[in-house]
């Protein structure tokens, strides 16, 4: 892992796939993806898109980003956004965690358009199961926010599709 010192491109949320062409052009191959609970869409869809570009991503769980930041392994972060204004951006859930970590560790946090728009809340049942298997005990409630509001102070740069320079 020490070989990854300040070398990891960390991607969070369902970014538009055009980001991967740009990363490929830049020669970025050390791409880490957060799996994206509850539906693991990032693990499945983004990984396949990267595979199409001959990149084999490294998958981590959504709770493992902090470890990478603390060890100074992250070069830059890309998170998907739905809407943006001067005050901040509405992003896929988990973006706020990375925004705060980026600010603390002085790692740039880039916003890239999301592949699709999302509602505010997901289904409770999504979090009570994992990969199609019920895992939560009976009677437990689930709370599934699908987006985070990320204030502008955590955002380094906002990009549009096809532009990451």
């Amino acid at each position: 892992m020490q070989d990854n010192k300040n070398n990891i491109i960390l991607i969070q949320g369902m970014v538009d796939e055009s980001l991967f062409d740009l990363l490929k052009e830049r020669g970025e191959i050390n791409v880490f993806i957060l799996e994206g609970r509850p539906r693991l869409k990032a693990a499945n869809i983004l990984s396949k898109e990267l595979n199409k570009r001959q990149i084999t991503p490294t998958l981590i769980a959504d709770n493992m980003a902090g470890f990478l930041f603390k060890r100074n392994l992250v070069k830059e972060v890309w998170v998907s956004y739905q809407k943006v204004d001067k005050k901040g951006a509405r992003c896929d859930t988990g973006a706020l965690v990375l925004g705060v970590l980026g600010k603390r560790h002085q790692v740039p946090v880039n916003l890239y358009p999301a592949a699709a728009q999302k509602g505010a809340q997901g289904k409770q049942s999504d979090i009570l199961s994992f990969n199609g298997v019920r895992v939560a005990p009976k009677g437990v409630k689930g709370y599934v926010p699908l987006t985070d509001w990320v204030p502008a102070k955590y955002i380094s740069k906002v990009h549009s599709c096809g532009c990451c320079c």
């Binding site: 969070q12 993806i33 990984s47 595979n51 959504d62 709770n63 902090g66 437990v140 709370y143 985070d148």
Partner: protein, 329 residues
């Protein structure tokens, strides 16, 4: 016990005990579907339940101490010198089982007793067993005291975020809060990849009648920013002289967010001065297969690598208060 309050115990509070000539270890990987105990008869089987994470956190501590009791019985026909050697071999095997939990700090206490008994020409089995039982009783008492402290920390109207599982103590504190008519609620992170938050924390809080809501690990920022939680309480696997600690992966980012959102962050610790600071704690990197598969099925069909650090280190400046247990003999 303070106030002479009877505390209802969670099965996770004391997940391993000797029954006759075997050690029964609660298989935490089967909860909530089943409450089943694994029979452990010797050091090899003890190391296996630890490595395979059938038990973890405080359960590991219980397995370590009770494994010495098993080996004292298994080696009862040995000479005193050979028995001490056997216990030393047990200590070495346990120390190598997993890297982050401070196994050597516990095993060295027991091998020290064995050496002392040998030097004083006392019966090793009697001497060490008596000390192990006394040690366990002391720990039990101090953990019950800490449950009371946690209950005092939680105020009426609180909404507490927790991560992974704190081996019964939070759920038992929740029960006390209920008895004290406090209205409280909990948010539990699911804690990938083993989902201890989903399977263990939600299970035991629910069993105690607590109000618990499960969230994904990536929803921590959302619940903090939206003011849905006003306290964080987590456990720890290892503490340092400067107050840094190691706990389940995910704890660091929760601590950073709590600091950012000015939410008090409490950690249950076992103080130790054997390691100076968090950077010196060895962090276990587990097999990527445990992350990339769930119940033997891959979580993605794409070609991916996996990276699975088992623990995070949290710097002391992120902690509002450590709720300590005195782990002394």
């Amino acid at each position: 016990m303070k106030n002479n309050l009877k505390i209802q115990e969670s099965p996770l509070f004391w997940p391993a005990h000797i029954d006759g000539k075997v050690l029964l270890v609660l298989d935490e990987t089967l909860i909530p579907a089943k409450v089943k105990y694994i029979k452990v008869r010797n050091t090899k089987e003890a190391v296996q339940v630890i490595r395979e994470m059938k038990t973890r956190a405080f359960g590991q501590f219980l397995v370590v101490l009770n494994t010495f009791l098993l080996e004292l019985e298994n080696g009862r026909a040995l000479s005193p010198e050979a028995l001490v050697q056997k216990l030393q071999a047990t200590a070495e095997a346990l120390n190598k089982s997993r890297p982050t939990f401070p196994f050597a700090e516990v095993t060295s206490v027991v091998t020290g007793w064995a050496q002392a008994a040998l030097a004083q020409q006392q019966d090793i089995k009697t001497f060490v067993s008596k000390n192990v039982h006394g040690y366990l009783q002391g720990i039990r008492y101090r953990r019950l005291e800490r449950v009371q402290k946690i209950a005092e920390l939680i105020k009426n109207g609180d909404s507490v975020l927790t991560h992974c599982n704190v081996s019964g103590e939070l759920a038992m504190a929740a029960k006390i809060c209920q008895q004290q008519k406090k209205k409280i609620r909990f948010f539990a992170t699911e804690t990938r990849p083993y989902l201890q938050g989903t399977k263990l924390t939600c299970w035991e809080l629910k069993k105690m009648g607590a109000d618990v809501t499960l969230i994904a690990d990536n929803a921590v920022g959302s619940v903090m920013a939206d003011g849905l939680v006003n306290k964080v309480i987590v456990g720890s696997d290892r503490s340092c002289a400067n107050g840094d600690f190691a706990n389940k992966i995910g704890t660091y980012q929760i601590a950073v967010l709590a600091k950012e959102f000015e939410i008090p962050f409490y950690v249950l610790t076992q103080p130790s001065s054997k390691i100076a600071c968090g950077e010196d704690i060895p962090i276990e990197i587990r097999d990527e297969k445990e992350l990339l598969n769930f119940e033997r099925k891959p979580i993605t069909k794409a070609k991916v690598k996996g990276f699975y650090p088992g623990f995070d280190v949290v710097s002391h400046e992120l902690i509002t208060q450590a709720v300590a247990i005195n782990a002394g003999q």
